[in-house]
Amino acid sequence: MNFVVPDFYPAAAEIFVAVMALVIMLASTFARGVRWLGYALTQLTLIAAAFVTIFTMQGEVSYTFSNLFVSDLMGQFLKLVIFFSMAVALLYGRGYLADRNIDKPEYYLLALLMTLGMMVMVTANHMLPLYIGLEMMSLALYTMVAFDRDSGRSTEAAMKYFVLGALASGLLLYGMSMVYGATGSLELSGIAQAVYNQAANQTVLLFGLVFLVAGICFKLGVVPFHMWVPDVYQGAPTAVTLVIATAPKLAAFAMAIRLLVWGLFDLAAQWQTMLMLIAVASIVLGNLAAIAQQNIKRMLAYSGISHMGFVVLGLLAGVVDGDRHFALNAYSSAMFYAVSYVIMSLASFGMVILLSRAGFEAENVDDFKGLNKRSPWFALMMMFVMFSMAGIPFFIGFFAKLAVLQAVVAAGYFWLAVVVVIMSVIGAFYYLRVVKVMYFDAPEDTSAIRAPAEVRVLLSANGLAIAALGVAPQMLMSLCAYALLASL
């Protein structure tokens, strides 16, 4: 028995983040007085990790740690977006946390561990690391939701999230065990091979598949596994909601690609049918339920459900009658949608945070009343976000919808496109309502908007990016397609 030293190079970024997490833990223990240390180190780590990822980027797919770990362009691209979105989310949220006295180093440590969990998920080539990454992310998130420990609502949300999350993890594990039982492999390529050879027991395999899809859907937050989304979004401190609503969606997307496309591509006909029901149900329920919401975090939660429905819509258009030519187009559209959603979601919750201050939660749609009078600039930014989410051009949300709809139409699902489009019109209503409240109503709260300069600048940049990417979406679209091309 000879021991082979694994190649650490492809996993440099993961190792770096893990080490830094420990460093921050120690640093914040020994330097308790320096309040900014945890935050600053975390941000530096995220930025440095992005550089490490870029410098260690390899064009081809490489495996390490006995094929537990895969390094490919899709993973690296998603990791970069995750770093970016975490960094932005932490920056937006810092003032909010400070106002509530929970701006503690542990928070940032948890955020970093969560990032690490997502990185592991994104780069997993094996069910085991996938599950470990998922749990690492989720456990950190549960704690973050409960971070404002004096708040009853946050605790309730965390409890709900934890119980349902544990249930979903159970489902996922159960599915994994069935797939393992049927195929005899936990490694994705091994599973794919076994399914291709039709060596697996179909009944067990399909049961396993159902549970896997359920687990993925829970993490994406789509119907019928969406119950936690509105409650957790509403109950969590807004800074944490911002984190939940962004990067984890990308990790869940990566999980879907790894499990369904890498592992079970030959069962596409089966999981596509499931995803079709899920997508339609999410878009219908998300849009209809969002209309009734007065709480903007809840509204954005339901809107997020429908957006994730669109991502699923892209995922289900990959294989038509066994023809796999559509796969790249469809999956890259879904990925483009997910990335666009993250950018929009950052800005939308960023705006909610911007309007909040010590002792005041800007939670209701009505808190945006007359924003155009209070701050025409940020009203404009919020309008960009809302129109973008509604899928109106020239904003990125339109091209995201266009890409997904294009994939759906190319796959021949016209009725699906029509249903989705009609729901989009219904969905436009609640986005329009936010614009209406900001522009058509008089302000009730006339206090000036106070926020640190860096938040103002970044939020403006975020809003402008939504418009700029809407005028020139080509770059991001090609990146998504290129990243996936190497991984399919």
Binding site: N372, P376, F387, I392, P393, F394, F398, F399, L402, A403, L405, Q406, V409, A410, F414, A417, V418, V421, I422, S424, V425, A428, F429, L432, R433, V435, K436, Y439, F440, P473, Q474, M477, S478, A481
Partner: protein, 493 residues
Amino acid sequence: MTDIPFLSLAIWVPILGGVLVLATGSDRNAPLARILAFAVAVAGFVVTIPLYAGFDAGSSAMQFVELQSWIPRFNINYHLGVDGISVLFLLLNAFITIMVVMAGWQVIQDRVAQYMAAFLIMSGLMNGIFSALDGVLFYVFFEASLIPLYLVIGIWGGPNRVYAAIKFFLYTLLGSLLMLIALLYLFMQSGGSFSILDWHQLPLPMEPQVLIFFAFLIAFGVKVPMWPVHTWLPDAHVEAPTGGSVVLAAIALKLGAYGFLRFSMPIVPDAAHQLAPVVITLSLIAVIYIGFVALVQTDMKKLVAYSSISHMGFVTLGFFMFNQLGIEGALVQMISHGFVSGAMFLCIGVLYDRVHSRQIADYGGVVHTMPKFAAFFMLFAMANSGLPATSGFVGEFMVVLGAVKFNFWVAFAAAVTLILGAAYTLWMYKRVVFGKVANSHVAELEDINAREFAFLAILALCVMAMGLYPFPFTEVMHASVDELLRHVAVSKL
């Protein structure tokens, strides 16, 4: 030809100028915002003049073409060009924008920069619609132009503005999203091209043609608007500020009609022929039934809004008879309606600014206090009812002539509009302008000032000139309409 991209200028000068106006910020800088907006509007008009001056009326091909790759991932191009059908609308649009800026000069005191910027940006976007030759580019401009109008109605509108703004937005969005699916289908069928000109050549079986036709019919029918999807228009008109109504009537409604000529008829000619009776029936209902509806209105703006629907019914009627006179007449009618309805709404705006009422019953005897205004209003009312020697007559006459060739009874029904139009317009005019001075408000009215005189006079000149000598307008469109008819006559099955 020169290499100056006049079409891009026509689109981006108003948009970027609008952003500049927006940057003047708060109402403290309102005078600056107004002057800047006026300058941008004039500049936006000036850059469209070469489009007419340099237009080769003998050619039916696209002119001033600009072609650049925009989103190669889906083969979407920044492809612009105009032919005889579209070029006049760019000029009309840029021209109306100047009128709108002038009309809002004093009335709008709240958030002036945003108001002016909204109209300028909208003007640029609508120029984009008329000149886009790429399906997605067209769609993008088509949708994006909803945003400024939504804001204009919602911010500066009347008491029920929120309802009107949202209704306007959702109605149009529903139509256009169905069109988007049709565009994506065509993209797929044409092997990955979004070029409208490619689609014109694309053979299609009958069943998809019919479905595409209906998708377009809903999209453009809502925009025109055709009966029975017209109900958003009276609401939007009544609640919109004067400028909003003017742009809505003069330009926005034309987008739908233009869509029929650019998309429905050339892309799915067989379906268009087969389903022409449907469109003609709907058009006739709009002409006659909506004409009667206009007759009973008590609100001036609503009356003109219904009259717009009725006139636009004439336009769609002209299109779907598939003959030269019908289509050219409809196009002339569109331009003329742009001037006349714009002028009508401006006139109502002049009254509303003074009395703050649009109810016909609140007026009476305006001629005694506002003689100059009454003269202008008279001219426009006559044009609206289609009096010979005004622009309103030319288009209606041509369409009726075209209809006689097509089917006598259709022509007969269409001609009823000449009576109805005169009835509702002139009856309203009589109740508002003539008679005894109705109340103290009317007695205190001041006649129009120099600014109002200026824009009404310019529009009056346009209406008269077009009525007396329509040749410069018809000359431009002749070759393109000819080519369109030739193209539509060939089956694509």
